[in-house]
Symmetry: C2
Subunit: 407 residues, 2 copies
């Protein structure tokens, strides 16, 4: 990497890590030195006492990050998508009615997953991209029909739209208290408020590589006692094998109790890095977590202010803007691809659009984890600086082109 | 770790890796410094050109390790078990007849997986633990009934039994040529001969953490054109979601062609380490791979000779002994647990039994990957030395106990 940061050299900013471009995408994100060092330890036996202690801690801390005391944690090798699969395989029986709130691409995906297990899905779409699903629509739909479960994408990674989970849970518990509430928190756990017990969530599923601050490759899911009860009392057998709680529940219960057990070999290095990341996340308890969430919001506000100066509007409407991810429309005349390319050359990696029909019309900037919480790294300044200079340079180039053409 | 190796200090033996116990279990195994360093790089974007090149190389090399030119590789976040799940979800339609060859615990598991997808399984058990399934039994079973697929566990990790895959494929192709041949090569790819194309295998599935020499967390599967054809022409939809080739096939095809694509976030660090491991494995082409396999056999023979001197017999009958794993009965009067504990204290990790009813009657010693191929590490000498001294010390202790009791 030849690009130099005018304020902070890479080696100072990134500590013991080799020089590299800053990942400012909605995951994987930058990880701390401690997390990377935990990852890089020689592998442990998956049934050794050392690993058992580490895994037990990961399970226990996973619960805390989402505000659960007694939820049953599952940490399994797989991408975040495996969390959807666990819901489909273990909670759905063919013909079950489910209500899917859709605020972007990941609502489509969750629906797709559940229907592949025989669910009959009703979709409530946000009125337009960037908006949330109105509470009134949720209420009237729930009132008109009994649903086994409702799914909420906390932050849709394709749009940066934040759903108000607390408000939604209040509606569900009032209008249809037996409906299980499933939260896709892949892009929110660690950077948005989640009070699993207090709000009555039944499933919170997430992944390791976003605001949790570890590396990709782990599906993390917490199930309420009610969700486990629903699984235990199913009439038809669990569908599938790898996602089956019939296999994993005894394993996870064993490790929670500090005992090793075997179904599939745990990804020991990824788990070790996850435990380190969760320890960092929870080192000052709930209060510390709340501060971290606030730090994410602050960075998000600052980034949106810079974007606004550049004439770039958020996809997410006001009040529905995520703390860990900003999706912004590119200025008239520019494309996402040229912005990404120029930013990459300056040492910062942004992401393009994920909504197929406006893919090149917006960019997504991830601001999660150590980039936000470790100010000494200077990542967030660098991200805003690069956005600022890239857009200005590109606009200037276009003006120059136009001027040349006009001459 | 306070234990000192008399011949070779840990730091010299393990190079740049921190001091640690040698993993002599059937996976995870010791990994090379290069693999660990590849793992420990800051994460890349899963859709970046850099990662795309790395992933493309992993896919291409995975094929080569199992002797396939045109097979379709799948590398997906998950444990080795996910390979079974891919077979069940994509190749099984309810009511399909399958023939499962059982040489241990993993035969039971594969059957369990396939029947969970609606397969009707016929099991051919090895006559007793340590033996392989007789070819005559396979032949007569295939002659009497048409099976959609047959599964072979190349090396059963619970028993160390090596099946003669080449001989079995000859029988299948002669007696029932339309039956798909599925090879579970989790404990064999990289340390046993596998000629996917030449032998007419339809699926070879393995995992990253054994003789491949990388870290746990990746399911690696190669499908023949005929297997892909069977999947494409299924009448009922694919079962499940996370294991579905409907989702993953376009993704893998894209990366094979050097283009990024998204279904779930790839575990970028694990993939990077896998690519490094596969490069080491294939650096001298097929000839180099053959030499590595021979090196594993040599170590296995030497270890079995030491075990024989100690009066410890292999579970596997002669000719059915794996190259990367030795399962041996413990001497009369000793238990697996006490052997494991004493070996651990001397800095070497062995594994206990996996067959429930003789769990404490035998131990398993893994000898795969860099421990075998990098002689300068001194791992295999250390493994045999520790086995030798542990058994002798325990036997001496027992004699002393007896003498004391008799006095």
């Amino acid at each position: 990497m030849s690009t130099k940061n005018p304020r902070l050299s890479f080696s100072r900013a990134q500590g013991r890590q080799p020089e590299h471009k800053i990942l400012a995408i909605p995951g994987p994100v930058e990880v701390s030195n401690n997390v990377l060092e935990a990852l890089a330890q020689p592998p442990l036996s998956h049934v050794s006492p050392d690993f058992t202690r580490i895994f037990q801690e990961a399970l226990s801390l996973s619960r805390k990050v989402v505000g659960s005391q007694n939820g049953q944690p599952f940490v399994i090798a797989g991408s975040g998508t495996l969390g959807w699969d666990q819901v489909g395989a273990n909670l759905i029986e063919r013909g079950d009615k489910v209500l899917v709130l859709n605020t972007g691409y990941f609502g489509d995906g969750f629906k797709d997953c559940l229907t592949s297990y025989g669910a009959v899905a009703t979709i409530l779409m946000a009125p337009s991209p960037g908006e949330t699903v109105p509470l009134a629509a949720i209420e009237s739909t729930l009132a008109g029909q009994k649903y086994k479960l409702i799914t909420i994408t906390h932050v849709d990674t394709s749009t940066g739209v934040l759903s108000d989970v607390h408000d939604i849970t209040k509606v569900v518990r009032r209008v249809s208290p037996s409906t299980l509430i499933i939260l896709d928190a892949v892009c929110s756990a660690g950077c948005e408020d989640i009070k699993m017990d207090a709000w009555g969530l039944d499933i919170v599923l997430t992944a390791s590589q976003k605001a949790i601050g570890a590396l990709p490759g782990l599906s993390i899911l917490i199930a309420s006692p009610r969700a486990i009860q629903t699984y235990s009392s199913r009439i038809t057998p669990v569908q599938g094998y790898y996602a089956s709680w019939k296999k994993w529940l005894p394993i996870m219960e064993a490790y929670v109790a500090g005992k090793a057990a075997y179904f599939g070999t745990q990804p020991v290095n990824l788990v070790r890095a996850l435990t380190e990341a969760l320890k960092e996340l929870m080192k000052d308890g709930e209060e510390g977590l709340a501060k971290r969430i606030e730090a994410h919001r602050k960075v998000a506000r600052r980034l949106r202010a810079v974007a606004a100066q550049l004439g770039m509007k958020s996809l997410a409407t006001q009040g529905a803007e995520a703390a860990g991810l900003t999706a912004i429309w590119v200025p008239e005349g520019l494309t996402a691809s040229e912005i990404l390319q120029k930013a990459g050359a300056k040492g910062v990696v942004f992401a393009g659009g994920l909504l197929a029909d406006v893919k090149d019309r917006y960019i997504r900037i991830g601001h999660m984890g150590v980039s936000v919480t470790d100010e000494a790294r200077g990542d967030t300044n660098r991200i805003t600086d690069v956005l600022y200079s890239v857009i200005n340079e590109l606009l200037a180039e276009k003006r120059m082109d136009r001027a040349t053409t006009e001459i």
